[in-house]
């Protein structure tokens, strides 16, 4: 077992985790943050994306021990932000959400792109190429993403 302390969605959180536990399992099973989705489990699809110290990471492939001392934001942490308010409106208008499983990961990736810590925004298609939508609604996703990041 390991003792960790990190800031999760703005709240200082102390955790006791198994050495081999993945961040995804800690978020969903210990903390009930089920907006983080379990899907491919091989770091390809982006459904389990969370933000650690400003960067998007796959929580399915990160040992929970790595978030000791770090700042973690999940989709639940965006709830009261102006970004989220705007994203809801834009995503709804473009009919971006079909089944919705990829939406939390997409929103967190977009949020990390807009908060400026990653430097200037490069090609949006390239940046989002790691977030798969299995309903294949890519045109509406890109249209919404372009509006949100402009």
């Amino acid at each position: 077992m390991m003792q960790l302390e990190s800031t999760i969605n703005g709240r200082c959180t102390q955790l006791e985790v198994n050495d081999n536990e993945l961040l995804l399992d800690v978020l969903r099973d210990h903390l009930g943050l089920t907006g983080t989705k379990r899907s491919c489990e091989v770091e390809v699809c982006g459904a389990c994306t969370v933000i650690v110290d400003g960067l998007p990471v796959s929580s399915c492939m990160l040992l929970a021990s790595e978030i000791d001392g770090a700042e973690v934001v999940t989709i639940e942490g965006l709830r009261d932000t102006t970004f989220y308010e705007r994203a809801q409106e834009v995503f709804t208008r473009h009919a971006t959400v079909q089944c919705g499983f990829c939406t939390p990961g997409l929103l967190l990736t977009l949020w990390s792109l807009t908060d400026g810590r990653l430097g200037p925004l490069r090609d949006l298609r390239e940046e989002l190429s790691g977030n798969l939508c299995r309903c294949t609604g890519y045109q509406s996703i890109l249209a919404a993403a372009e509006e949100l990041t402009s």
């Binding site: 091989v42 390809v44 994306t49 990471v57 021990s65 790595e66």
Partner: protein, 277 residues
Amino acid sequence: MEEAASLLHRFGDVASFYAGGTELLLVMKMGLTDLSHLVDLKRIDGLRSVSVSNGTLRIGGAATHREIESNPLVMEYAPAMVSVASRIANARVRAVGTLGGNLAFADPASDPATLLTALGACVEVRGTGDSRRTLPLEDLWVGAYQTALDHDELIEAVTIPVLKPGTSVAHERMKFQERPAITVTVSVTAVNGSIVDARVVVGAVAPVPRRLARAEYALVGLVAETTEAGVDLAGDAAADGVQLLDDSDEAGPYNRQLTRILVARTARQAIESALLV
């Protein structure tokens, strides 16, 4: 670093260095390895730093792809490394995965491995006690997923010599989903409008990235007017000379054709840019 190496020594086969885990955790999840101890290298001071001295760029083994692509020194001294690092897998892998981890895992589908081989890079290796050695990248890999590193040796840094004047580097790849099916780097040096030195490295279709001497030979001596014919010859020589990971009746001809086309294309790009200067 000494402590990390000695931990590996102490725990033996059930221990491994952990430098991002984007590939290591994957093979652990697949049940392909039976590790009970991981020694995290990313938290070791200085193992993520980037510096320049004596005409050599030095990147710490635990620097992440994201740190490399956004580092001003790398941008200045090895711009090709920036463009390669910024296209590895996806943003999440780049945030966590490290250069040393990538090279030590020896996955054939590695973009940095191919580029760095062409750039003549070396790895500084650290082991238990005072053990240190420097290996040219070409000697680091002995086969797919196999390196010349001892169990308790870690990659402390990667050193990249600064390019000779008149040198241009081009790197191309083709990928399906996120893993490159082929990676090609061509580096050429031009003097007075003529190519005097060339390096051609092909990876991903091969077990390890290797220079292809006959393809390089086809490029030396080219001038603007002979470039088109020369790069096609280089493509043919590369397709002929490449040692394929999968040379079956089904995949072999396809992989050779990929090699032919991509080597010619990458060589054309490198030469055009070298002759422009």
